[in-house]
């Protein structure tokens, strides 16, 4: 009955040997489950993050939360109570990150999220004072997309997205953006990541005769609607979202995804950015180190978010050290404060300028338009 469990627990306590003088960072990402294509490059970036900052050694503890909100919360509690971390980075999906907010606030531990929803950091009050993120807000990407559409004469748009938080968040952002640019959304379809066919949805979209179609999905499942639309005879422009920004998408999509347009963080086409682009230098740092480690063509924007979390953290640590020693609540509070006073921190997705009311800190410099040409990503100057 309970005896065995208690014995096991005492054994478990023996596993707790963490050096408390160093800075400990807990990372929870989804390396398995539906969000694995986001989590794996994020996890792969962790070994590339700074190991020493301002003379302090940094330890990273990585846990998988299998794209499950309960697991991400469990991991967070583990980090706070067992590993006594000073900072938490995660998680890969918006629901996972949202779930973690209350826990990190109670544990007075700052958190940097690598998932997209703006709700994670807005408005900065209550528990969200402890939460930061390094992903562009959907609305800014949606605006860039809508702007490109408007500039190219698109008046009507068909929408198809994932039947989950990503698709939902994008739809809401795009509705606002389209409204601002006077573009009408004529169809709103959804599909499940594991679907093998979206013929019904594609037919509906084509039937509503849009000038362009926006697909809000992530990873290679985003190929399916694009392929199907082509099959049913759609000839207009197809826009995708930053969820597809990796080379697997092109590999699976082949010639069906030629000409795709999307608004994405600059890291994707770092080598192609003009020298005058303010983000180029810092983006190339990550681009080079990731491809050197994992091979040419392996870089993805998701890993970039993790890299940026590392940069933002490193920029804040020297200031935080003035407030206390690592491993103490004072240090964590100081880190929290330092994170909201970052100025012009260059990273792979943009340049971060945080304030007490803006825990993201990205601006226009954090997005570019790209197009798929000849099987590669091509930088399109935003006009």
């Amino acid at each position: 009955m309970k005896f065995n469990k208690i014995a096991l627990l005492f054994v478990a306590l023996g596993f707790n040997t963490m050096a408390l003088a160093d800075i400990n960072v807990g990372v929870t990402v989804s390396t398995t489950g539906p969000a694995a294509s986001l989590g794996i490059p994020e996890k792969n970036t962790v070994p590339l993050l700074p190991k020493v900052v301002a003379g302090q050694k940094i330890n990273y503890i990585i846990l998988d939360d299998a794209s499950d909100t309960t697991a991400s919360v469990k991991n967070t509690r583990k980090f706070i109570s067992e590993d006594k971390v000073d900072l938490i980075i995660g998680s890969s999906t918006s629901p996972n990150s949202l779930a973690m907010i209350d826990v990190v606030a109670e544990g007075t531990t700052p958190m940097i999220s690598v998932s997209a929803a703006s709700k994670i950091v807005e408005p900065v009050d209550g528990p969200r004072r402890w939460v930061y993120k390094t992903t562009q807000n959907d609305i800014s990407m949606a605006l860039a997309t809508a702007e490109h559409m408007a500039n190219n004469g698109v008046k009507t748009v068909g929408f198809i997205g994932f039947s989950d938080a990503y698709g939902e968040g994008w739809y809401q952002a795009f509705v606002t953006a389209a409204d601002l640019k006077k573009i009408k959304i004529v169809s709103n379809e959804r599909y499940v990541r594991t679907d093998s066919s979206v013929s019904g949805q594609a037919l509906r979209i084509v039937g509503s005769k849009p000038d362009a179609v926006l697909i809000a999905a992530s990873g290679t499942p985003a190929v399916l609607p694009q392929k199907t639309l082509k099959e049913v005879g759609f000839k207009g422009a197809v826009y995708q979202t930053l969820g597809v920004a990796n080379n697997d998408f092109i590999r699976v999509g082949g010639k069906d995804v030629e000409g795709t347009l999307l608004a994405v963080g600059p890291i994707l086409v770092a080598p192609q950015l003009p020298a005058s682009n303010p983000v180029k230098k810092s983006a190339m740092v990550y681009y080079k180190v990731y491809e050197d480690t994992y091979g040419k063509g392996s870089v993805s924007t998701f890993g970039g978010h993790m890299w940026d979390a590392g940069q933002v953290m490193s920029a804040a640590i020297p200031e935080a050290l003035k407030g206390g020693k690592p491993g103490t609540p004072a240090f964590r509070a100081a880190l929290r404060t330092a994170l909201e006073h970052n100025k012009e921190v260059p990273a792979s997705h943009g340049i971060y300028n945080t304030t007490p009311t803006d825990h993201l800190g990205l601006d226009q410099r954090s997005r570019v338009m790209v197009k798929i040409e000849n099987g590669t990503w091509k930088y399109e100057p935003l006009n």
Partner: protein, 608 residues
């Protein structure tokens, strides 16, 4: 588990609660939340035999109900002023339970009548539907979910920390465990256990299987809903992902690993799986590095190992390990004896017409199993039904006991027409029966099996049983069962597991079970099969005693010697029709009977 051992364990747990490290307490909170759902599953799947893949949907309903109540502006406007933060979650709980009740009733109506595998598949169906429904409803936050759910609070003290919240979780769990234990240890519990072995036997004991199945289903749903309420106020954020099919599968998994038929298996399964998963998270990266994530593979392999060596789950294995320390309570040592608690009926005077079957015809498609069969049974007589195999005797029996319906003709029991009535109604009016293929609860004791027959003589319902208000009646029921067991010559075997008895003795147990219902008519289907000579003599003596007491007995038998010395009247069936009725002497001389069944003595034929 005995009460003493349980109290010690609980005391140790309560003390340890204060000292355990924070994260362990967090994990134990999750274990508790899961264990509540799994407890319901144990009762539903392990005990009553209804497999459900949809429990996570009910957890979701409980979670969303309270999340909406405590975060919606609509509710805040109308109720926020009246009820403080303490009571709003309680409203959320009640609201969730009400919706769950309604939904479980509705779904039960549709799915519980499905037999075999259709039920689990249906549970998968609505489990999946709910998941997608939750995700698509705007006011429930869609896929992104609902944030900032307030915690539970008592007066001004907020239960935010896992340690404080865990007290609520485990209190609720142990309360539910106690209630379930009481329920299963009672008359209603026996009835629930009979659901697993099919409808036929249970209905013949007077148990409304449809209603019981619905109640068990609703019970499991309500427990899942409570777990959802706790989850909501613990996580303080919900979205649809925890309430999908894989969570439902996880719950079932925990039930089977812990021991599907055992209440304590719920906490064992939940605890083991939660802690193993947590350890693997720590240990695997140390062994395999961070490049790959083989946790699920290692976890699966461990589970496969457990399944292979502990097919009944880990709880029975654990009990066996500790069995020298634990003395199991012998049930048959009952102190008080109060026969007046049970309802009893007056036996009708000798010669009264008990059972009257008129012109029964039964067709199965083109085959006519019974053709215009008429038979009557009077109080204080033993009437035998004989005939070659395939003559239609068992079919006729099924019709006489309400298990099947005649295509033509009617059956009257104590003068009342039973057309359209089911086996339950027959049992209520005093018909007891045994079965050709023995239908006992194989893993239960003889005492529990026989006490099942007295189900209709007890009154206390589910709630009373859970709250232990039925103890005196339960004593009476058990005493009645012991009485019948002794009467049938099986005294001393009360605590024996039914499946360990020989087939012949199992048939006697069935008779004892039928007798504990205090029947006016007893239908016995080949009771002497598998009995030795002396045992048959004892059976005959018993039947003759019953006849003296005014019982009427209808018996199908193949042992002619047994029948001829026992029966007052014999009816002979062949190819679905009655070919002769009369006293044993008349039957033995009837040429049609001799021709069809009994056979002619060669020597005597030659000498004629």
């Amino acid at each position: 588990m005995s009460a003493k051992l349980t109290s010690i364990a609980l005391a140790v747990f309560a003390c340890a609660w204060v000292f355990l490290p924070d994260f362990t307490v967090s994990l134990l909170d999750y274990v508790g939340i899961y264990a509540i759902v799994v407890l319901g599953l144990v009762v539903m799947t392990g005990v009553a035999g209804m497999t459900s893949f949809g429990q996570a949907a009910f957890v979701g309903i409980g979670a969303y109900a309270t999340a909406w109540v405590t975060t919606s502006s609509f509710v805040a406007e109308n109720l926020g002023g009246i009820l403080g933060p303490t009571f709003l979650p309680c409203v959320g709980l009640i609201f969730g339970l009400i919706i769950t009740c309604a939904l479980a009733w509705f779904l039960g109506l549709i799915t519980l009548n499905l037999s075999g595998f259709y039920l689990p598949l249906c549970t998968i169906a609505w489990g999946l539907s709910f998941y997608y429904l939750f995700g698509n409803l705007e006011f429930l936050g869609g896929h992104t979910g609902i944030t900032s759910i307030p915690p539970l609070s008592i007066a001004s003290y907020s239960l935010i920390t896992p340690r404080s919240f865990g007290c609520v979780i485990w209190l609720i769990f142990f309360l539910l465990l106690w209630l379930m234990h009481n329920l299963l240890d009672s008359r209603e519990g026996r009835a629930i256990q009979s659901l697993k072995s099919g409808r036929l036997m249970a209905e013949s004991m007077g148990i409304n299987t449809t209603s019981y199945r619905a109640k068990v289903f609703m019970l499991a749903a309500l427990m899942a809903s409570t777990s959802g309420w706790l989850y909501s106020h613990f996580q303080r954020f919900i979205n649809p992902t925890p309430f999908n099919l894989s969570s439902s599968i996880d719950y079932l998994f925990m039930a089977v690993i812990g021991g599907a038929g055992y209440l304590w298996g719920a906490v064992l399964g939940s605890g083991l799986i939660t802690f193993i998963k947590s350890y693997l998270q720590d240990i695997i990266p140390a062994i395999f590095g961070t490049n790959i994530n083989p946790e699920s593979i290692v976890f699966g392999l461990i589970m496969l190992f457990i399944l292979q060596y502990y097919p009944n789950g880990l709880w029975p294995g654990l009990v066996k390990l500790f069995s020298p320390l634990v003395k199991s309570k012998k049930k048959s040592s009952i102190e008080r004896y109060e026969p007046s608690q049970l309802s009893s009926r007056n036996m009708p005077p000798k010669g009264t017409l008990i059972l009257n079957a008129k012109g029964i015809t039964k067709r199965f498609g083109g085959l006519v199993a019974n053709r215009s069969v008429s038979l009557d049974l009077k109080a204080g007589e033993i009437h035998a039904l004989i005939g070659p195999n395939g003559a239609g005797k068992s079919t006729f029996f099924n019709i006489l006991s309400g298990v099947d319906f005649p295509s033509d003709g009617q059956v009257e029991l104590l003068g009342e027409s039973m057309t359209g009535k089911v086996a339950r109604d027959f049992a209520t009016r005093g018909l007891g029966r045994t079965f050709q293929h023995v239908r006992l609860l194989r893993s239960q004791s003889v005492l529990d099996n026989v006490a099942l027959g007295a189900h209709l003589r007890g009154h206390f319902g589910w709630l009373a049983c859970m709250l232990r208000l039925d103890r005196r009646e339960e004593c009476a029921l058990q005493f009645e069962a012991i009485e019948q067991i002794r009467r049938c010559g099986l005294g001393g075997s009360e605590d024996t597991v039914a499946s360990s008895l020989s087939l012949g003795k199992q048939r006697i147990v069935e008779i004892a079970r039928a007798l504990s219902g205090q029947p006016v008519a007893l239908l016995l289907d080949e009771p002497a099969a598998g009995l030795r000579h002396l045992e048959k003599k004892d059976l005959a003596t018993l039947l003759m005693q019953l006849r003296l007491e005014g019982l009427s007995v209808l018996i199908i038998e193949h042992d002619m010697e047994f029948v001829m010395h026992l029966a007052d009247r014999i009816t002979v069936l062949d190819f679905g029709t009655v070919i002769a009725t009369g006293s044993p002497q008349e039957i033995q001389k009837n040429p049609r009977v001799l021709d069809a069944y009994l056979g002619i003595d060669e020597k005597s034929e030659g000498s004629l």
